[in-house]
Symmetry: C2
Subunit: 260 residues, 2 copies
């Protein structure tokens, strides 16, 4: 199995750095092939702009979607973008590992998403009609692949619990798990979250790395989060609202889970 | 009144660029002083790393929080960071304007938050005790100031409605409004969201700019989102969970609104 680990932490000698190395070795020992996109080590350019299309006319008005689509179709994308897209095509499983900074992913990883997720590749794919609103949310270029977040937080488990002050972790991660991963087609596994990282000593590292190891050992057998597919009948089109008979009289992120 | 507009869009000749100019002039005509942090124009460095502390020892292990705090306290922060902090101190109102990219802010703005929100400035402030868990969520360096998001989306209003496939816009913005703005003390005004931007022609621009203008005219009279203050008795400390008698048997983002 081919595993791509997209990793965003500035310090190799950190808990995140150690867990990245642990994960790589664990997966390799299980017979998988691993590529790591270590965004800080790669000095990844985090800022989407007109330079992402190497054929952009100087001084032309820049449109993020149109320019991205033109460059993707013409093969004139910046080489770093095309290379990461190749890794995504190659991968059977994509793991994104990062510390939760201000309740989301670090900017360098957000910029990886924005630039690598080209129009025509990760969005703007498929036809729009009365019964199909593009290949997205369960369909798309990355369908058939699995993805999982590995996230560390300084805050406590309870701060991210159902009634915790930061908000429930599943809700905080919904824009990523549903909006970034499920959108272009990934089956999204439940996240692996490690809390209160400031308090992890050597014994603690044994514990947290073993817990991560178990998740890595079961990547292919773990049931994905049952997000509803957009074009399978649950949503009205083009309003894209959940049909009244499903999760009736409810609202919010979790109505987009098929079990609810 | 001093207004800081933090603006993140790569193309000045865009809807966002026009709205930024409109907002600046509208506020100035009302007698306010406006500063704009135009992150793309400034070529803002979006990537938090060891270089943010100009006095960092070469080769030392980097800890994002500790190094940030040390640099903030010693006055050795990178000059671009200190300059933006000065703007925040100067401002009575902060407006953040950006297109919603992958259901969050653009990476360049996320990187502004990560770098400007130093430890000791925007977090890691105040004492921790049995009744007070730091000056945050309603207290902190930026208390007494107001903040508002101005957000554009390509998607339709209904896609971001209570049962829309993208998730409700208020929930998608919660990590920013509660986690980034309320956290260091801002009173957060309801967001101003402009949907379906691909369909806005000249008449449409009149309409959307006037609607924005009304929000700018009422910055000081608009009631903030009633997020609950962390240290005012609603939460157990240190678990930081909402007390059982408040919004009983419920979970999710909206229990952190005082009205619920």
């Amino acid at each position: 199995m081919n595993v791509l680990l997209v990793y965003a932490h500035p310090e190799p000698r950190s808990l995140n750095g150690s867990l990245k190395d642990f994960a790589t070795h664990r997966l390799q020992r299980a017979g998988h092939t691993v590529q790591v996109s270590d965004l800080y080590a790669m000095k990844w350019n985090a800022v989407l702009d007109a330079g992402d299309n190497t054929a952009a006319a100087p001084g032309a008005r820049f449109d993020a979607s149109q320019d991205s689509k033109a460059a993707f179709e013409a093969g004139t994308q910046s080489a770093d973008i095309a290379h990461e897209q190749d890794k995504l095509r190659w991968a059977d499983v994509v793991i994104m590992q990062f510390p939760l900074w201000w309740f989301s992913m670090p900017a360098i990883l957000k910029g990886w998403i924005e630039r690598v997720y080209a129009c025509g590749f990760a969005y703007g794919v498929g036809e729009h009609s009365d019964s199909h609103w593009g290949d997205r949310y369960g369909e798309g270029t990355l369908a058939g692949k699995r993805a999982m977040l590995v996230v560390t937080t300084g805050g406590w488990d309870s701060h991210y619990g159902p009634r915790g002050i930061n908000g429930p972790i599943d809700d905080l991660l919904f824009p990523i798990q549903h909006g970034v991963l499920f959108y272009p087609g990934f089956d999204v596994l439940p996240p692996h979250v490690i809390y209160r990282t400031g308090k992890i000593d050597e014994d603690g590292f044994e514990r947290v790395s073993e817990a991560l190891g178990k998740r890595l050992d079961t990547l292919m057998s773990t049931a994905p989060i049952p997000f509803r597919k957009q074009n399978a009948g649950d949503y009205t089109i083009p309003a894209l609202t959940l049909r009244a008979g499903l999760a009736p009289d409810r609202a919010g992120f979790d109505i987009h889970l098929a079990q609810n």
